[in-house]
Symmetry: C2
Subunit: 229 residues, 2 copies
Amino acid sequence: MAKLKIIVSPTSFFCTRIEWALKLKGLEYELTFEDWSKGKSELLLRSNPAHKKVPVLLDDGVVIAESKVILEYIDEKWKGGDLYPLLPQDPYERAQARFWAQFADDKCFIGTWGACRAEDAQEKEKAVEAALESFTFLEKQIKGKKFFAGDKIGYLDLVAGWISHWLGVLEEAGGLKILDAERFPSLHEWAQNFAEIPPIKECLPPRDMLVNYWTALLSRLRSSAPSKL
Amino acid sequence: MAKLKIIVSPTSFFCTRIEWALKLKGLEYELTFEDWSKGKSELLLRSNPAHKKVPVLLDDGVVIAESKVILEYIDEKWKGGDLYPLLPQDPYERAQARFWAQFADDKCFIGTWGACRAEDAQEKEKAVEAALESFTFLEKQIKGKKFFAGDKIGYLDLVAGWISHWLGVLEEAGGLKILDAERFPSLHEWAQNFAEIPPIKECLPPRDMLVNYWTALLSRLRSSAPSKL
């Protein structure tokens, strides 16, 4: 079998979650880095013409894009035997994992990002409040458990995994605080624990590099935003 | 087994796709209608506190929300034997169906809705162009096939099914044209065909009711939008 390839950006947690899944499955892979300073590569444009985004998984002639779609593909293609399962077996538990994974992306990440981008103080306060409300739902999901999936890392842990490393970066770059240990004790503990587990830790990009990247991105977005009247 | 219940709105295709799935599976269900004029029901708020949105499936004590999550749940819980499969078996084909389903929701529907809402002529033209580009990708997916899934209706047909009935409504309410038969011959033919298939057709809400609803909604959104300087 040809080795799996992932087209990635070094700063994107959507890419890192794919690496985590492949490591848990014990599959070998290689990374092809996009260099945004040179524009999007011909390989990326050809592989994912609909979105033109990373990550993209190249598996022996077939191409799969969109990180949560890729995670399910990996879990369905390499299953059974000793292979690590990402999603549970029970249809209801699977539905719960998918529901909260979508929520973590759409509400928790997009909410945090919106709060980072807000420039007006009142707008920022409102956006932070909305993000905090979303994180309250995740806190309830993890309360009393080691991982979202129970005793072992699963699909939802991988999707929410950015909280353990990238959220602090976003908080720093965006000048805000979300993951307060007193407000979110279970989520905070999960995040600390998750980032220390060897197959997770070894894929984490250096924090300084991420802070530089997201700070520069926010600054660029702010300077290019239409001025307000 | 207690009969399945779906909390629905009579105008939402996100709800109708669940009805279609249950009909294809041969499962009995009953509908609980939300009456928006009275605000959100206590049942909806309790069942889906994170999004407070329809559809919600109530299945013998468990609650599942988010339409694509519900479709997968239905397909995983009632599978095998004579039960109609919604998703294919092959991991790559499943990934493709999921990818294009997400695309149909995020790009084709949201794009069309954005074009409907645009008030400024130049902004509207740009939004229509972007929506047309997205539909071009779907046209390629259906070309040469009776259904997205091949010879039989599948998951992606159900998710893209709004195109066969609601898109014309949105075009009328929003004063625009997307699904031109010359530009999108295969998608146009699929849409015509899909809406005539008995289990699909019998769930379609009356067109006049939908036109009235979406026209009133657009008018309400426009009058409440902040005036532009």
